[in-house]
Amino acid sequence: MVTQAKALMQRFVQRRAKKGAGQDYATSHWKLMYRELKRHKLARISLYILGFFYLVALLGGFIAPQGLESYSGEYMNSAPTKVRMVDANGKFHIQPFVYGLKSERDPETLRKRFVEDPEQVFPVKLFVHGSDYSFLGLFKTDIHLFGVDEPGRIFLFGTDSMGRDMFSRVVLGSQVSLTLPLVGVSISFLLGLLIGGISGYAGGRVDAIIQRFIDIVRSFPTLPLWMALAAAIPPRVGVVEMFFYITIIMAFIEWTGLARVVRSKFISLRSEDYVTAAKIAGVSDLRIIFAHLVPGFISYLVVAATLAIPGMIIGETAMSFLGLGIRSPATSWGVLMQEAQQIENVALYPWKLIPLLFVITTVLAFNFLGDGLRDAADPYSHGNGAKSAKRKGKRKWVSLRSKKKQLEV
């Protein structure tokens, strides 16, 4: 799924750009777009960040030192472990290390308190043995990127109320939270393209009916829909199925916006001369759509899709807040945030808010990337003329973005 994600964003951008190198006139649009995107500093940085996140998600089991069910009564609610380079005697170590942790309960409040024991030194090692996981779904292994020897512990982001490593949960949770919106957007992308396309290309009565249908879906309050659909999810579902259901729910809410964009694009393009020419030449409708119309605005759609992703990430967290969707021990960022929002955690264990930073970063990155792509999608606009195209585009963004409101419940 992750590779799919990369593809979505970059298939059109990079591959074609490399191939063309200025000779192929048809690809120069993508090339220009790429060049433009490179100039957009924030978008470029965002792309790198997202790439990194997706890589981490892909290698989740390898990077996370623990699995999702590594409960520990001993190390619950522990603050992030301090990784040190300098020991108690002021000696510098090349290899970072952590001290051993001693835990005790405050007899008064029963809160766990952790004391570092400078006597016990555990160097942080690479490629250590830990819990079993399946590497990329290919083979089973227990090698993890980093870790410390028993009985040492390393909790980069602290632990949760059941003693699980928050860092591992953030990493493994990203597998759900980063792929879910991509799959969701893909589904709504397809739906939007198909339905919007039919609507725009056919026009007339078909268009009117589809538009009313979209009105109905749009006027549908998301909250009860979520609740009803969540209740309809059968009893015995694994994480993957649950993931799939949620994705469908999200996509169902999201596709109308894209359909509207597609439709308006179709309407404006179908009267272009080259389409008329194709029609006269006897080219089939399907071929006209896919060979001539779709390429004409695919870049807009990529942008639209990119901008729809953050809404889905936020939507997933909102669903978790309402108790719908994925449940622990399966983890997503939404689950982590739902746990973090308990007063106890905000008050006593603030490190449980760390996942929030990742949500914010991801949402920002997708937004900046989308912005960059949008500017880039209209490479000619930076010249002197041809402002009108951009203006038209902008207006569509207005409508597209307003759609996001529905997700915020």
Partner: protein, 665 residues
């Protein structure tokens, strides 16, 4: 702030007037006050409270709250001694720490009318209430009682001159009215309570009690067969064994006709008579129109953001100094949509007294100084803090046979690391233990808490082998002997606090090869599923103060507790539906019938012991960690908040008699 100051100023003026009056009126008046001044800190209060105009008339009067004194002065309220029962019938409520001061509001977070029981318990006035230790009852609204030797005739005496909160006298007629016009015709949609039936020791047939009025202040309850536990069961089943006849005669269709009653219902917002009957008859404390005997009575619409209950000027209790209770003027119920709001408000010191689950212990304790409150642990009659119940009548015959196998239950008990559960779920407070009766509670059994309480996965595996459970091809999960799939589906009610425990227990069960699914359903569906016998495994503990008083969780009398599933339906439908109890479950039911027909309390004790021993032997309810306390949080200036036992039978916070809570200035 300003309002506060202004009130204070007014109080001082009042005080000053009192002193003037007292000086001009000779010693008699003050002798009463000096007598009550033994307790320091109380001085101001007492001098304030004596000043009703009545004080000028009579010397030894019960003091009252300033807000009432003002009304009396304005002539809108009768003097306090005319509002309360005759002197010797006034109930004197012992205070827990010290004699209190009048005034202040009790901010009581609630979740709106759905939370009606929370506020009900805090303000309930039962005919008979549980004593402090929860083992027996004492008269409350009743002044006393007499019972004949074979426990077939109870005479209940009421308090002379006692009044409803609207000032109308409360008499035996109100009891008889309740019995005849509300209980028997099921006006509020509840079948007649079990406590009103006696059981024929021979045939087991149930006979309804007869209730008659002896005089204005005495009613007589007559049973066909002995009913030794009548008062205790009355204190649980039907605490409010009375209703204001004069009020119901203005709303019940029986008295005013269908049409007028429907018009009344519309006035209250209802659309039909049934719901009107249920709400005004059963949830009566929420209606300002409905007079009650409680210390605080409803003042406005329960759906408003602040539902207010104000002191009842006719309340029948005083403290030992003769001050009419309650001390606090008002209970203000503020709607809080989420549990966290109550927690935050309490931490901010905005809540005078509140109850919490143990899960909030650490965060409450850590903020104790900042919020200026104290956390008071209350013990509970729970058998454990974490428990699992296997439905003995579950639908799948293979699963049912497995659940009924005592070795399987033992295996499940041995499969879990109680130490870790204790650390993670109970913060280490609830020790590793089997579900059992806690020391100090009735029917305590020595050594029970250690039964199957070790962490022994090998032992569990051996037991599972013995039962004949095989392994699947991958040697990951166990299957039934015939190789078919074996899955334990734990149903979890949502919302609930068991989330973490289920996660853990699932891990342990899977650890011994038992495939475990978790199905989350909302409360309503859970309820439906329970009735439909569709819940095989659930996470729930047992909480019983005394099985004789409330058998619901241990004796399958109706569908209610998950472990006995449709055995309960069999009993309640008299064998028409459900699953016929066999073996030890059938024995429990026999014991129960004998208990009901007992002639003496000793006999009752014997049968309860028998029932409990059967539970000990079978361990239908598996527990992992010892119970954790319930929490009551009281702001530091709120006094007289004790630490008692928290149970439904004793009405949680109501057991602490909130009328004597006060805010110390």
């Amino acid at each position: 702030m300003w309002g506060e100051k202004f009130r204070m100023a007014k109080k001082w003026v009042l005080c000053f007037m009192v002193v003037l009056m007292a000086a001009s009126l000779l010693a008699a008046c003050t002798s009463n006050n000096t007598g009550s001044n033994g307790n320091k800190g109380n001085k101001g209060a007492n001098t304030e409270q004596s000043p009703s105009p009545a004080a000028t008339v009579k010397a030894e009067i019960a003091p009252e709250a300033p807000m009432l004194a003002e009304l009396v002065k304005a002539g809108t309220l009768k003097p306090v001694e005319e509002r309360m029962p005759v002197k010797e019938d006034i109930m004197i409520e012992p205070v827990f720490e010290e004699i209190g001061q009048y005034g202040g509001e009790w901010n009581f977070p609630w979740n709106g009318p759905d939370d009606k029981w929370g506020i009900s318990m805090a303000t309930e006035e039962a005919m008979f209430r549980f004593k402090e230790d929860g083992t027996s009852v004492e008269p409350n609204v009743a002044k006393g009682y007499d019972v004949n030797a074979d426990a077939t005739e109870y005479k209940i005496y009421l308090r002379q001159g006692m009044k409803w909160s609207d000032g109308v006298p409360f008499t035996a007629d109100d009891v008889i009215f309740y019995w005849e016009h509300m209980l028997i015709p099921e006006t509020f949609g509840k079948a007649l309570y079990d406590c009103y039936y006696s059981v024929d020791p021979v045939t087991g047939e149930k006979a309804r009690a007869e209730i008659v009025k002896v005089d204005d202040y005495t009613v007589k309850v007559t049973f066909k067969h002995p009913s030794v536990l009548f008062l205790e069961r009355l204190a649980i089943d039907n605490k409010w064994f009375f209703a204001p006849a004069h009020y119901y005669k203005t709303i019940l269709p029986e008295f005013i006709g269908e049409e007028a009653a429907l018009a009344k219902a519309k006035e209250y917002g209802f659309e039909d008579l049934k719901n009107f009957g249920i709400w005004t008859g059963y949830y009566y404390w929420l209606y300002p129109q409905r007079p009650t005997l409680r210390a605080w009575v409803a003042k406005n619409d329960m759906n408003s953001d602040r539902f207010i209950m104000e002191r009842n000027p006719y309340y029948f209790k005083t403290d030992s100094e003769g001050q009419q209770l309650p001390y606090m003027d008002r209970i203000v119920l503020t709607k809080m949509q989420d549990k966290s709001h109550k927690l935050l408000e309490t931490m901010a010191g905005h809540v005078e007294v509140g109850s919490f689950d143990f899960t909030d212990y650490t965060v409450l304790k850590e903020n104790e100084a900042k919020g200026n409150y104290r956390v008071i642990p209350w013990s509970t009659p729970n058998w454990s803090s974490t428990g699992v119940q296997l439905n003995q009548t579950t639908e799948d015959p293979k699963l049912r046979a497995l659940f009924q196998d005592i070795r399987f239950r033992e295996a499940l008990s041995l499969a879990a690391d109680r130490k870790e559960i204790s650390e993670i779920i109970t913060n280490g407070l609830g020790e590793a233990s089997q579900a059992s009766i806690q020391k100090g509670l009735p029917n305590y059994q020595e050594g029970w808490s250690n039964q199957w309480a070790a962490y022994d996965t090998d032992g569990a595996a051996k037991l599972l082998d013995e039962i004949g459970l095989k392994w699947d091809a991958a040697h990951k999960y166990r299957t039934f002997a015939d190789g078919s799939d074996l899955t334990l589906t734990i149903y979890r009610e949502d919302p609930s606090d068991n989330e973490k425990f289920i996660e853990l227990i699932r891990k342990y069960y899977e650890g011994v090869g038992l495939k475990t699914d978790v199905k989350i359903v909302d409360q309503g569906s859970f309820f439906d599923l329970k009735y439909a016998n569709k819940i095989p495994v659930t996470v729930k503990t047992v909480s019983v103060l005394n099985v004789a008083f409330r058998p619901d969780e241990l004796v399958p009398l109706r569908v209610i507790t998950p472990w006995f599933g449709h055995y309960g339906l069999y009993t309640s439908s008299q064998g028409k539906e459900g699953v016929k109890p066999e073996g030890d479950v059938a024995k429990i039911l026999e014991d129960w019938d004998k208990l009901k027909a007992s002639k003496t309390k000793e006999e009752v004790q014997k049968w309860t012991d028998d029932i409990i021993k059967l539970h000990q032997k079978n361990q239908w309810v598996i527990g992992y960690t010892a119970p954790t306390p319930g929490l009551v949080v009281a702001r530091n200036d709120v006094r007289n908040v004790p630490s008692l036992i928290a149970s439904d039978e004793t009405r949680y916070i109501g057991h602490a008699h909130p009328a004597q809570f006060f805010i110390k200035k």
